[in-house]
Amino acid sequence: PELRHFIEIESQKAKYQAQVHSFTDQCWDKCIDKPGSKLDSKTETCLVNCVGRFIDVSLTIANKFQKRLEQGGH
């Protein structure tokens, strides 16, 4: 059971990191035009909002999809 627990946690970490890679990839394209000598606050805000809105879009779609499945239609 300990081994299983360990594997579960490591596997969750891997998923989390894969998600961070994916967000960084997409939000980099949305927020950074030319990489400057430092990450200015405008870009940082854009990155934070980008992650937040991506999750919002993801939840919106997942919830609506779930409702569709329950209604039996498609």
């Binding site: 997409q26 949305k30 854009c46 809105r53 991506f54 919002d56 879009v57 919106t60 779609i61």
Partner: protein
């Protein structure tokens, strides 16, 4: 059980693609919350994407059938 897993994988793939495409189309400048116009855009985009999936699936089926008929 294999069937359920494939169905699940299919739904997950669809959800992921829709999220990526609709985020790209609807959120140009990410703000501090989802604007109602963005929310509306996402919902429309999702409906259109699922319709597109169905149209593509039918068209692919029809084309496969046509190629099969040509060979026999």
């Amino acid at each position: 059980q294999v069937k359920t897993q494939i169905a699940l994988a299919n739904a997950q793939e669809l959800l992921q693609k829709m999220t990526d495409k609709c985020f790209k189309k609807c959120i140009t400048k990410p703000g501090t919350s989802l604007a109602s116009s963005e929310q509306k855009c996402v919902e429309m985009c999702m409906d259109r994407y699922m319709e597109a999936w169905n149209v593509v699936s039918k068209a692919y089926n029809a084309k496969l059938q046509m190629e099969r008929n040509r060979l026999t």
